[in-house]
C-alpha cells in the first residue's frame, strides 16, 4: 500500500490550520477530506469511512474533538484517530493518553500539540497506518 491509497479526514475550525494541514498531507502523498466543523465531520463519518482522522479539540464546543473520537470509534472501531489541539497544559487538563484507562475514555490513538512539524505528523500517521 502506498500513501495515495489512504484518505485522511481532517476537521479543524481554524481555516488556516486546516489549509496548512491538508496542504502538508497532500504534499506527503495522502488523499484528504477537509471539514471545518464537528457537524460537517459527523456528516462525513456517517457516509464515508476514512483511513485515518485528525480532529481539532475545540470547535463548536470545547469537547468537539472528544465527541468525534467517540462517534468515529463507535462506527469504525479500527480507524486511527489523532486529536490535535493548541490547548494542553494551560488548561490544567492533562490529556496524555498513555494509560489504558484514559485511552478508553478519550478514544484517540495519538494526542498531538498543534504546531508540530509536518514531518513529525507524517511519521505519526505512517506509524498508525503501519506504512
Amino acid at each position: 500500500m502506498k500513501k495515495s491509497d489512504f484518505t485522511i479526514l481532517v476537521a479543524d475550525d481554524d481555516p488556516d490550520y486546516l489549509f496548512q494541514t491538508v496542504f502538508n498531507l497532500k504534499k506527503a502523498g495522502y488523499k484528504t477530506v477537509a471539514v471545518e466543523s464537528q457537524a460537517e465531520a459527523e456528516a462525513v463519518i456517517a457516509k464515508f469511512r476514512p483511513d485515518l482522522a485528525i480532529f481539532d479539540l475545540m470547535m463548536e464546543s470545547d469537547d468537539s474533538g472528544f465527541i468525534l473520537c467517540y462517534k468515529i470509534r463507535k462506527k469504525y472501531p479500527d480507524v486511527p484517530v489523532i486529536l490535535a489541539t493548541a490547548v494542553s497544559r494551560e488548561t490544567g487538563m492533562s490529556f496524555s493518553i498513555d494509560s489504558e484507562k484514559e485511552k478508553s475514555w478519550i478514544r484517540a490513538d495519538r494526542y498531538l500539540e498543534k504546531g508540530i512539524r509536518p514531518e513529525q505528523l507524517d511519521q505519526e500517521i505512517m506509524k498508525l497506518l503501519k506504512l
Binding site: D13, D14, P15, D16, Y17, F19, Q20, F23, N24, K27, E36, S37, M58, E60, D62, T85, A86, V87, E90, T91, G92, M93, S94, F95, K101, E102, W105, I106, K114, G115, R117, P118
Partner: protein, 379 residues
C-alpha cells in the same frame, strides 16, 4: 487514591451483599481527576437504619431501594434533601416501579438503577455518579474560590492567542521550505492570511485590555456627567473609514438629550463595540442607525443594522466571552469574541441591561438601557 463512601439501603440481603461484592474492587477514573476513586461500602436494611448511618458516617453516594419495610425510599430522599446533604442518590427499583424512580429523579435522585441489574450495569451507574459527584464538587470548589470563570477564561484565552501564532508559524514554515513554489507570488495568499491573523490578534489584545480595565474598579474619580451624543459621534467618527470602505451609512438620531453619570471611557467602549459591529456585520451598502433616547429612569441606546442577522438559537450565548457565531456568513469576518461580553459587563456594572433583536439576513438591533440615577456603581 480517593475513597467514596457508598451506602446501600435495601431490605434484600442478596442485593446488599451483591453490590458490596461488585464494587469492592471497582475503581473509577476520569481524565480530569487527579486520582482514581474506589469505594467503601456500608449497608442498611431499612430507611430508619439508613438515616442513622447517614448521620453517623456521611456517605457520598447512596443506592436506595424504594420499597422498604418501614419508611419508604422516597422519604429517605426527602430527608436528605431537607437536610441539604451533599449526597448523590441512585434509586434501585424494579422495572414495575419505574415511574417512582422517575419521580425520584425529579426530587433530587441523580440516577436510578432498575433491578435486576448486571454487575456491568451497576458499575456504569456508579461510574456515572462518581463523575457527576466529582464535577459537582470541583465546580463548587472553583466557584467558592471565585476561580471558575477565570479558569475557563484563561484556557479559552490561551487557545485564542495560540491559534493565530500556529497559523503564522505554519505559513512561515511553508515559505521557509518553499513548499508552494519558488516565487514570492506563490505565497500571496499565505501572506494575506498571515496579515489578517496578525490583525485579529491585535484586536484581541486591544479587547483584552478593555476587558481588564472594567475589572479594575475604582471609579470615584472618573465618574462625571457624560453626554452620550458626544460619545456616539466619537464612535461613529472612528469607524467611518471602515464604513466608507464597506459603503455603509451611519445615522445618529438623538431623540432627547441624553446625559448620565458615568466613566466616559466605559461609554466609549460600549459605543465603539456596538457601532463597529454594526458596520462589520452589515452588508455592503447597508445602513446603521444609532438612536439615543431617555425615559424618566433610563438612557436607552439603540444600534440597528441591516446586516446578516443572528439566528434565535445563537443569541443566547452572544454576550458570553469568546463566543463567536460561526457560519458561512461570518467566516471571513475577524473578531475576538470579547466585544459584546465587554459591553454586557459594563452595562451590568451600571445596573443596566443589554438585549438583542435580530432576524437573519434582515438585521440586528442592540439595545442598552442604563439607569440615569446610578450613583452607587462601586458595589
Amino acid at each position: 487514591m480517593a475513597i467514596l463512601k457508598v451506602l446501600v439501603i435495601d431490605d434484600e440481603p442478596g442485593i446488599r451483599s451483591g453490590v458490596t461484592r461488585i464494587l469492592k474492587d471497582f475503581h473509577v477514573t476520569y481524565p480530569f481527576m487527579d486520582e482514581d476513586y474506589t469505594f467503601e461500602l456500608m449497608e442498611a436494611p431499612t430507611g430508619e437504619d439508613g438515616i442513622a448511618v447517614i448521620e453517623r458516617d456521611k456517605p457520598d453516594v447512596i443506592l436506595l431501594d424504594n420499597k422498604l419495610p418501614g419508611i419508604q425510599g422516597v422519604e429517605v430522599l426527602e430527608y436528605i434533601r431537607e437536610k441539604k446533604y451533599d449526597i448523590m442518590v441512585a434509586m434501585i427499583t424494579s422495572y414495575a416501579s419505574l415511574d417512582i424512580a422517575i419521580k425520584a429523579t425529579r426530587d433530587g435522585a441523580t440516577d436510578f438503577i432498575p433491578k435486576p441489574f448486571t454487575p456491568q450495569e451497576l458499575k456504569s451507574s456508579i461510574e456515572n455518579i462518581t463523575k457527576q459527584l466529582y464535577l459537582k464538587r470541583i465546580t463548587r470548589r472553583l466557584t467558592e474560590e471565585g476561580k471558575q470563570i477565570r479558569y475557563q477564561f484563561l484556557s479559552v484565552l490561551s487557545h485564542e492567542l495560540k491559534a493565530p501564532l500556529n497559523a503564522l508559524e505554519g505559513y512561515l514554515r511553508m515559505m521557509q521550505g518553499k513548499e508552494a513554489g519558488d516565487r514570492i507570488d506563490d505565497y500571496a495568499n499565505h501572506i494575506d492570511r498571515s496579515l489578517q491573523r496578525i490583525q485579529g490578534m491585535r484586536n484581541l489584545i486591544m479587547d483584552l485590555l478593555d476587558f481588564t480595565k472594567i475589572r479594575l474598579e475604582k471609579k470615584e474619580g472618573r465618574m462625571r456627567e457624560v453626554n452620550l451624543a458626544d460619545v456616539a459621534s466619537g464612535a461613529i467618527f472612528a469607524v467611518r473609514p471602515y464604513a466608507i470602505q464597506r459603503e455603509v451609512t451611519i445615522n445618529l438620531n438623538v431623540r432627547s438629550e441624553t446625559k448620565i453619570m458615568a466613566d466616559p471611557a466605559d461609554m466609549e467602549i460600549i459605543f465603539n463595540n456596538l457601532v463597529s459591529n454594526a458596520v462589520k456585520y452589515n452588508k455592503v451598502g447597508g445602513k446603521v442607525d444609532v438612536t439615543l433616547d431617555t425615559t424618566d429612569s433610563e438612557a436607552v441606546i439603540t444600534v440597528s443594522d441591516t446586516g446578516i442577522g443572528i439566528k434565535k438559537s445563537d443569541t443566547e450565548n452572544l454576550f458570553t466571552e469568546f463566543v463567536r457565531i460561526k457560519n458561512e456568513k461570518t467566516r471571513d469576518i475577524s473578531g475576538s469574541g470579547l466585544g459584546l461580553s465587554i459591553v454586557r459587563k459594563i452595562a451590568e456594572l451600571y445596573f443596566g441591561t443589554i438585549e438583542v433583536e435580530s432576524t437573519p439576513d434582515v438585521g440586528s438591533t442592540f439595545t442598552v438601557r442604563l439607569p440615569r440615577k446610578s450613583g452607587n456603581q462601586e458595589t
